[in-house]
């Protein structure tokens, strides 16, 4: 009996201690894990230490897809967090939810609760990616990456290649030499993201009708009818057959591993991938992704923003939103922006952060970080800086499903691309019905 009483007393005292914490809690869900997840926790900790009124509680939900599914399930159960990280492929879904009162746009939030960071303080390309049709920023830019080319300089030196390739034509000129030396010339970790979505942006080509969905709800993708895209995959298949390009399945890490282990000369991955390579691979560089000289006529265009943004979810108290506004302000400060840029390799998303980086000569100290800003900062594109296409996670799946039979020769390149179009068209139409 004594034992029972003491347990009871203990429980009651616990209940009181947690109540005596009079801080307003703000829940932030995210879809990063490992090191990137640790950095998110660190950001929250720094904010919590910087003031006494509010407490941000970050919760990792697994992958981007997992976090999005968890956020939606929580919303449907009326138990949603205040702030949630949703990735690029889910942006169209989140922007569409403003009118249903699920998501509160950044600008509305800023107006109501006074966020001291202006939407224009975010880099235009990134701002536009998460904006609605009228250009109002909805999602709050956070971890913004893009695809980059990683090069193993030791292999290139050994083979006698002095400069990394700027174009795919240059790559073709050196691939056989690399292969002959016993290395895999090229690997990449995400066919839909790197060699589909960003193939179009890198070559200033429209990917869907309706101006990539910015002018009208898209009804079809332009894969098979874009000559350059057919050309690219025909070449990729050729490379694959010659051994110039090695496909290691869909898993991101399986394609990255040979590069990290020094078995491949080039690997296309995310700007945020270098953290895991630093200290493992002795001599590598980050470079802009190549383009087809024959397609762009020597011009270079920026790629889309990848990664994720944070989205403000409706249904909480005014006091909590005030705290969230403070937190958004905190994360948008030049110091925090640069801190995150430095730790993870994601792009600096605010003008203030970039200015600060320049003042302290950050890129001289860490050249790894430079390529992402260079590539995203390119000018001259006539296409929108993103795509607004619903059901995109499933369309990515359709792309994957057709890349594999194309590489192994079950279907031709033309057939694979028209299959992708057909699958995407159905999914886009399905999405249009729910609007």
């Amino acid at each position: 009996m004594k034992k029972l009483i003491s347990i009871f007393v203990l429980l009651v005292s616990f209940a009181f201690t947690s109540n005596s914490y009079s801080k307003t809690e703000i829940h932030w869900w995210y879809g990063n894990s490992g090191f990137l997840g640790d950095v998110i926790i660190e950001i929250a900790n720094r904010f919590n230490e910087s003031q006494d009124e509010y407490m941000v509680i970050p919760t990792g939900k697994g992958s981007y897809e997992d976090n999005m599914a968890a956020t939606i399930a929580a919303f449907r159960a009326g138990d949603q967090p205040h702030y949630s990280q949703v990735y690029d492929a889910g942006a169209a879904i989140m922007v569409a939810q403003v009118k249903n009162g699920v998501v509160i746009g950044f600008e509305e939030m800023a107006e109501k609760y006074g966020i001291d960071v202006d939407a224009d303080n975010y880099i235009p390309g990134i701002k536009n990616f998460y904006a609605d049709g009228d250009g109002k920023m909805i999602g709050v830019p956070f971890n913004s990456s893009t695809c980059l080319m990683y090069a193993n300089m030791d292999i290139l030196n050994e083979v006698g290649i002095e400069e990394v390739p700027k174009t795919y034509e240059e790559f073709e000129g050196m691939a056989q030499k690399i292969l002959d030396a016993g290395y895999i010339p090229l690997l990449q970790s995400h066919s839909p993201w790197i060699w589909t979505e960003n193939f179009f942006s890198r070559h200033n080509l429209l990917m869907t009708d309706g101006n990539n969905g910015y002018d009208a709800v898209p009804t079809k993708t332009l894969f098979a009818e874009t000559e350059a895209f057919v050309y690219h995959w025909t070449k990729v298949k050729e490379w694959y057959e010659k051994g110039w390009y090695g496909y290691k399945g869909r898993a991101w890490g399986d394609n990255q591993a040979p590069f990290t282990n020094g078995e491949a000369a080039f690997w296309f991955g995310s700007a945020a991938s270098f953290g895991g390579m630093k200290g493992v691979l002795p001599n590598f560089t980050t470079n802009p992704i190549p383009y087809w000289d024959s397609v762009t006529g020597g011009k270079e265009y920026p790629t889309f923003i990848g990664g994720a943004a944070n989205w403000i979810l409706n249904g909480h108290t005014e006091e909590e939103y005030k705290g969230l506004a403070k937190f958004i302000e905190f994360m948008g400060s030049p110091e925090m922006d640069l801190y995150y840029h430095n730790m993870t390799g994601y792009a600096a998303v605010t003008k203030g952060g970039i200015e600060l980086a320049e003042t302290i000569n950050f890129y001289r100290a860490s050249p790894y970080h430079k390529a992402v800003g260079d590539q995203l900062g390119l000018e001259g594109s006539t296409i929108p800086g993103g795509y607004r296409a619903g059901n995109w996670p499933q369309i990515r799946e359709v792309i994957y499903e057709n890349v594999e039979p194309m590489l192994n020769g079950d279907i031709t390149v033309e057939k694979a691309l028209s299959n992708m179009d057909k699958g995407a068209e159905k999914l886009l139409k399905q999405f249009a019905k729910t609007l």
């Binding site: 897809e65 999005m68 889910g90 799946e397 399905q430 999405f431």
Partner: protein
């Protein structure tokens, strides 16, 4: 049998309530929701919900990868049932003969059953890894194994991963079935027939039929529903969508693609398929089985 009568009319409901409540919340409620999802078109957050008739069903039937998943699921459940059943039976028959260290064999053979499918998948992942996988190297030396792009190789991968643990389940039930066979029957048959193999097929195996029938159903449901974790940790459906089971496809469309309508329609199709298979088995196969 003694008949027990409840004094109060209500008390029986009181005792039934917890079980019924669990059934209602975890079984019937989700089923109703699934039907609702399958016949509505809605966005990921549940807005814009409107009655869609059979649109979601037409949508999945016009999807070539649905037929691929269907084909794979049928092949997969057939092969898994066959492999796990036959190896399980072989091991059970052999283990039943063992005189010394019987329980050690038994325990070791049953062990894998305790491992969760996802963990089995991760283990298989190591065996089939191109970088350090033993089986990958073995098969690669034999015929140039590459599951990333070769459908047959991918089948081998998921079939080995899916069978391994289920062999244990088959083993336990077959062993129990063998031990339930009366000694007298076996002894009498030894007098009549010398051939071990013939005795097995004419006496022992027919007596094991109830167990076999039960295991066929268990194995098919296992291959249909429980291999989800294995697919997700091994091939994730690649190459193409050749190794996606119906359940895995429903999961991808519903939770990664956030298309609940299509996922709901797929769930109902699965329910119908399992219903048909089970009815078929009970009507046509069970009639040939003698339980006593």
């Amino acid at each position: 049998m003694k008949k027990v009568q409840f004094k109060s009319y209500y008390s029986q409901y009181f005792f039934l309530a917890p079980q019924l409540l669990i059934l209602l919340i975890f079984l019937y409620w989700p089923i109703i929701q699934t039907f609702k999802d399958a016949f509505t078109m809605q966005d990921a957050f549940g807005f814009g919900s409107q009655f869609a008739g059979f649109d979601n069903f037409l949508f999945i039937f016009s999807d070539p990868s649905y037929y691929t998943a269907f084909k794979f699921t049928i092949i997969y459940s057939f092969v898994i049932t066959l492999i796990t059943g036959s190896i399980g039976l072989l091991l059970a028959v052999q283990a039943n003969k063992v005189m010394h260290g019987k329980s050690a064999y038994k325990t070791l053979l049953i062990w894998p059953y305790a491992i969760a499918p996802a963990v089995v998948g991760v283990m298989a992942n190591y065996f089939f890894s191109e970088r350090y996988g033993l089986l990958h190297h073995l098969f690669n030396n034999l015929w140039g194994f590459n599951w990333y792009e070769n459908v047959f190789d991918a089948y081998i991968y998921v079939i080995i991963a899916g069978s391994w643990k289920q062999i244990s389940a088959n083993f336990i039930f077959f062993l129990a079935g063998l031990q339930a066979i009366q000694k007298t029957v076996i002894e009498a048959s030894i007098i009549d027939c010398k051939s071990n193999i013939r005795r097995f097929w004419t006496i022992t195996f027919p007596l094991l039929m109830p167990t076999t029938f039960f295991l066929i159903i268990i194995n098919i449901t296992y291959a249909f529903f429980d291999t989800f974790g294995i697919i997700d940790t091994t091939t994730i459906g690649a190459p193409g969508s050749e190794t996606k089971t119906l359940v895995y496809k429903a999961y991808i469309d519903g939770f990664k693609g956030l298309d609940l309508g299509s996922a709901g329609a797929q769930s109902i199709m699965m329910m119908i398929i399992v219903l048909v298979i089970t009815i078929f088995q009970f009507r046509y196969i069970e009639g040939k089985i003698h339980y006593n």
